[in-house]
């Protein structure tokens, strides 16, 4: 009898463990799943960031990169934003990366989530600018002589050039991004004079190397 009772107690105990773990585990798993969903296209990781998958195993969300950026470019994702909570990112149209030659954000990263293997900011690979202004860009539609994006680019003439095209019987210019040199800093997107930027930086994985208008 006592044996039965203690066995019942034992089983009750096990159920208690499983129950509490189950509920707890379920909540965590659900939340974690939501947190792992991919980055929105306007979100750019700081220079030197490992690939998104590796980045999530490396970044401890300390924000030291954010603190060391002299231009206030970077921001840690707040809970509720569609970026993994606490990880650093920037939105080019808001504040782009100024491509500091000493890369202070990366220098500050204690974990190597921003890889210390990146020594030259010109080799950074934050994203890729893509020309989206076939109908809007002043230069390409021929409305004006804008070349703000080109002037803004810290790697101009290599990462971006203004290429002459014949369009509707007129000479127009298309801002043209060269994938080998574009670092994804977002200066072009930031400085673009159209309401919605006519050139946008996208995470590199969203842009194929040989895609569309990119030469």
């Amino acid at each position: 009898m006592a044996f039965l009772k203690s066995r019942r107690k034992f089983i009750g105990r096990i159920l208690q463990y499983l129950g509490s773990l189950g509920v707890f585990g379920f909540l965590i798993a659900g939340h974690a799943q939501r947190e792992k969903t991919g980055l929105p296209a306007i979100v750019i990781r700081p220079p030197g960031a490992l690939s998104e998958k590796d980045f999530l195993s490396a970044c401890v969300r300390c924000g030291l990169c954010v603190r060391n950026c002299p231009f206030d470019t970077l921001k840690l994702a707040e809970l509720g934003e569609p970026v993994t909570t606490g990880t650093p990112y920037f939105v080019a149209r808001r504040i782009p990366c100024e491509m500091c030659t000493d890369i202070p954000c990366l220098e500050a990263c204690p974990t190597g989530a921003l890889s210390h293997a990146l020594l030259d900011i010109n080799k950074a690979d934050m994203g890729l600018a893509v020309f989206t202004g076939v109908d809007t860009c002043y230069a390409f539609t021929g409305i004006g002589q804008c070349r703000a994006c080109y002037l803004a680019c810290p790697v101009k003439d290599r990462a971006i050039t203004m290429e002459a095209h014949r369009r509707g019987g007129r000479d127009v210019f298309m801002p043209t991004v060269h994938t080998d040199y574009c670092t994804g800093c977002g200066k072009c997107e930031h400085d673009c004079i159209t309401d919605q930027a006519s050139i946008k930086v996208l995470p590199r994985h969203l842009v194929k190397q040989d895609a569309g208008l990119v030469v």
Binding site: Y17, S20, A58, C59, V60, R61, L76, G80, G86, T111
Partner: protein, 288 residues
């Protein structure tokens, strides 16, 4: 009973007043708030003593500190952690190995203020309905964390960790992080007494194991004075740790509270009307 009591003048300290009854509590709250203030002074006042947050930080531009559990998660997730974070994690670990692992819980962790408040309200409102969650669940969670990090390749606990979510929220912009604290608070208030820190939180479990052999310990040195009033058990977040020290004299057990689960909060020292407890260190254990 009262006849057997030691006369007041023979006690080390006289009858306790409001302050002395809360001495360690006040010291501890000051410490917790100071920790927050140090992190907030940078972004809000431009006084950069500490940069970063509880996950990883840089003190005065020279000393790096990293939470060892977060670094472990990163290792398990498959990242070869950079040397700065490793040194930081070792530094932090050494500190807690000496002062007591769960000193993190009661002297640093900002969530502790919410859970303490919940526990206090609970006793005030005489709430007693409890969902029983075995205290060992936290060790299972602690075991699952690195396992899941390895499986998912992410620092998985940081998706949910209310401590870092909240503290990061305060330092870098709150978002919904207040909600996380509220959840923990309501859970502790209505679902289980001391449920979060005492049964679920793997961070507390981790620091408990880290400080299992820590130097600084609470000592029930004057346990022969104990009148079994039970005040210490009532106030202690981990009452089970007091039992061997307070009642183990006949079994030859040390008066030191040796369990790593003790948070070194010193509340027992505060509330005991007989001044049974005091802060001491493990080496006194060597004496018979």
């Amino acid at each position: 009973m009262s006849l057997e009591r030691i006369p007041v003048e023979q006690l080390d300290s006289p009858e306790k007043n409001r302050i002395s009854r809360n001495r360690w509590l006040l010291t501890r709250r000051t410490c917790q708030l100071l920790m927050l203030a140090l992190f907030l002074a940078g972004p809000f006042l431009g006084l950069w003593v500490i940069k970063g947050n509880l996950a990883s930080s840089e003190v005065l531009g020279v000393l790096s500190l990293t939470d060892p559990l977060i670094m472990l998660q990163s290792l398990f997730a498959g990242h070869a952690v950079y040397v700065t974070a490793i040194i930081g994690a070792i530094t932090v670990s050494l500190f807690y190995v000496v002062v007591g692992g769960r000193v993190y819980c009661s002297w640093v962790c900002p969530i502790n203020m919410a859970t303490d408040l919940a526990a206090w309200l609970r006793s005030r409102l005489a709430l007693s309905r409890d969902l029983v969650i075995p205290k060992q669940v936290r060790y299972v969670v602690l075991f699952l964390v690195p396992f899941l990090c390895w499986q998912t390749g992410t620092i998985i606990w940081e998706f949910v960790n209310p401590i870092t979510i909240f503290q990061r929220g305060l330092v870098y912009g709150a978002g919904l992080s207040w909600g996380v604290v509220l959840l923990v608070f309501l859970f502790d208030l209505f679902v289980t007494k001391r449920g979060w820190c005492g049964a679920l939180c793997p961070v507390g479990a981790f620091y408990g194991l880290l400080g299992a052999k820590s130097l600084i310990r609470v000592n029930a040195g004057r346990r022969n004075r104990c009148t079994d009033c039970g005040d210490c058990y009532q106030v202690c977040p981990e009452p089970q740790v007091i039992v061997p020290a307070l009642t183990g004299e006949k079994k030859g057990l040390s008066p030191l509270i040796l369990s790593g689960e003790c948070t070194n909060c010193g509340r027992c020292i505060d509330v005991c009307p007989e001044n049974v407890f005091n802060f001491s260190h493990r080496l006194t254990n060597i004496r018979p």
